[in-house]
């Protein structure tokens, strides 16, 4: 027992402050992209996922982007990934970066905010994918991040959940389980698409084995990244329930 207490003392208090000023991704991390709207042809050609449009309506779709950095390596003057981790949005179209203002995720309406703002329980469904998104959701539950202090918690049953957090491209083999989980949740309920796969298929975009989140399961929050950094996930969830703005 004494050894456990000594260890506790040695390990110290390690919960990070969040949000805090100056917080950003590691120096080589790829966060919010910045574009020059003209001359994106080279960058567009380098993207294996067609996430970059050149020409009349230039833009980078963070929903399709797996943040591999191929574009920035091919066209370093036109595309740059900043260390900004606040990437989440409320509408799919807002994931397209055009060089104009980036519209961050909005808080739920007043009524939902009243219900979820101080206690928000999430049921996570892993529906295909590589399990890296799951790992970065799990890390939020460790003492380093302490998700519970914000009133947010992952729960075991959809019956106990206010929100559904989906990861993965939704394989054919998981479609039914996802639908059943959503149906089992009491209303009102919200849906979070976490990671490139859940948003637009990620590295598996176009695979016949994957069907995507069905339209009957409307998404309220998009968390881009492959996988998203835990900072990005936490920021998105807290914005959604109005804990930060």
């Amino acid at each position: 027992m004494i050894k456990a207490i000594l260890a506790r003392w040695k390990q110290g208090h390690r919960t990070m402050e969040f949000p805090s000023a100056g917080l950003k991704l590691p120096p080589r991390g790829l966060g919010l992209p910045r574009l020059k709207p003209a001359g994106l042809e080279k960058a567009a050609a380098a993207c294996p996922y067609g996430a970059i449009a050149a020409g009349e309506k230039p833009g980078l779709d963070m929903g399709r982007c797996v943040f591999c950095g191929s574009c920035a390596r091919a066209a370093p003057d036109e595309v740059e990934f900043t260390g900004e981790y606040k990437l989440c949005v409320s509408a799919r179209k807002d994931l397209v970066i055009t060089g104009k203002d980036f519209k961050r995720a909005e808080t739920l309406g007043a009524e939902l905010r009243k219900i979820f703002g101080r206690s928000f329980k999430l049921r996570q469904v892993s529906a295909g994918g590589c399990a890296a998104c799951e790992a970065d959701c799990n890390v939020l539950q460790t003492i380093g991040w302490d998700l519970g202090r914000f009133g947010v918690q992952f729960v075991a049953s959809p019956r106990h959940a206010d929100g559904l957090l989906v990861t993965g491209p939704v394989t054919r083999n998981m479609e039914l389980a996802l639908r059943k989980t959503y149906a089992a949740m009491a209303s009102p309920k919200v849906v979070i698409a976490c990671g490139a796969c859940a948003i637009a298929g990620g590295p598996y975009a176009g695979h016949e084995e994957c069907v995507g989140i069905p339209p009957e399961i409307p998404v309220d929050l998009y968390i881009p990244g492959c996988p998203p950094h835990p900072l990005t996930i936490l920021d998105g969830i807290l914005r959604l329930i109005g804990r930060i703005d």
Binding site: K3, A4, A7, K10, Q11, L25, P26, P27, R28, G29, L30, A46, P48, Y49, V66, F67, C68, G69, S70, Q124, V125, S126, A127, G128, G129, C130, A131, A132, C133, E134, A135, D136, C137, N138, V139, Q141, T142, I143, G144, F154, A156, S157, G168, P169, T171, R172, N173, M174, L176, A177, G202, P203, Y204, H207, E208, E209, C210, C226, P227, H229
Partner: protein, 483 residues
Amino acid sequence: MKVGHLSSFDFGSADLDSSIFFETAASRLGSGGRALAYFAVPEGKAHRLVMAVGFDREGRVEVYSTLVHGPFKALTPSFPQLHLFEREIFEQAGLKPEGHPWLKPIRFNTPGAEPGIADYFTVHGSQVHEVAVGPVHAGVIEPGHFRFQCHGERVFHLEIMLGYQHRGLEKRFIGGPDGRSIHYAETLAGDTAIGHGWAYCGAVEALCGVNVPPRAQILRGIMLELERLANHTGDLGAMAGDVAYLPAASFCGRLRGDFLNMSALVCGSRFGRNMLKPGGVNFDLDSALMQELKLRLENASRDVGNAVSLLWETASVTDRFEGTGVVSKQVAEGLGLVGPTARASGVGLDTRRNFSSGPYEGFTLSVSGSGDVYSRAYVRWLEIQKSSELIGGWLNALPAGPVEAECGGLKPDSAAVSLVEGWRGQICHFALTGSDGKLRYYKIVDPSFHNWQALAMALRGGEISDFPLCNKSFNLSYCGRDL
């Protein structure tokens, strides 16, 4: 035919007459050989069966192939390690292994198949009951279906039915390499991005005949060992959590993140994504980064030692770890288990030693012995210390020079076997090119493909309440197995 691990060979010369193929396979598997991969490549209207066999003691790889037009002789009855390979061949190619005990689907990816809908092994009796769990589990975890046949608390049998994560990866390598191939490799199992990424790069480099510069090899080694450190530390924490010992669970949960952040320091991604490319690596270390890494490694290693030592000194932990979920050495060898799971059962296999290459010359092995949860925990602790030592040594002696070499085209009509010791165990990639120098077939064997059966065996005769602990002690990949 004897082939070099990580060097290309003429695929045609592995061809054998059908009867000789099965005789040779049986004699090799009966004399210390272990199936690294066994699969069917379409060839016109027929198929070519290909088997790669590893001889761990000698560090030798042999490859055989034969043309088949229909049903073929199952080897599973004599060699249980092939059971899933033969089911896979039946599901993917429609070729029936005659004599296989039970050809159940493994990924439910054929027309009309529905996930989880299959015959299950059942036990009958007035007091026997069945417990079914999944595909959606209680935690933030991948999907899979588990069916227990129980008598009270006691488990007679556990059947594990997966396939929910199947997203069609293997066939997407065909026609490559292209811009997406490395991303497929890195996301075969997201917690093994470096392990699988390296196996893919190794296969491509072998087929290009390119030599990776020493500095790049060591940078890869650093990333592979960081990946191992993060996952082993996380696993020890998760096992502590499952026996309700929260101090070690909390500390290790945080420390796992510290190792992931060290990977992010090198390449920007906590999972090592974007670090590797065929021919070398995308990121180098300057002296400031090396100093920072050394400092962080020292701190994290010290804290892990402090947190993990609590496990061995706490009776309530050791009481739950010892004797739980035993996998005997005989079972481990019979099923062809790999990685820390095999080493915890006393099997002396580690790709870094047995099939040593790149920065791992002279690597020595860690084995534990009794095959229980305690051994699987302890072997991880031994490996944590070794990985930490390796990285420390490499950071002190990083050779100068370039970090990538130019890869040319792939040699046509050739094949290569690439083995890497991922943190879960041996990863095998088998690449085959066509006459156009493009990938004609690509076979991936994740360590979990071998090891899931070990979890079922570990539960046999145990208590159902020990399932979470046993499961964590293996911590297998669903996506790596489902592809």
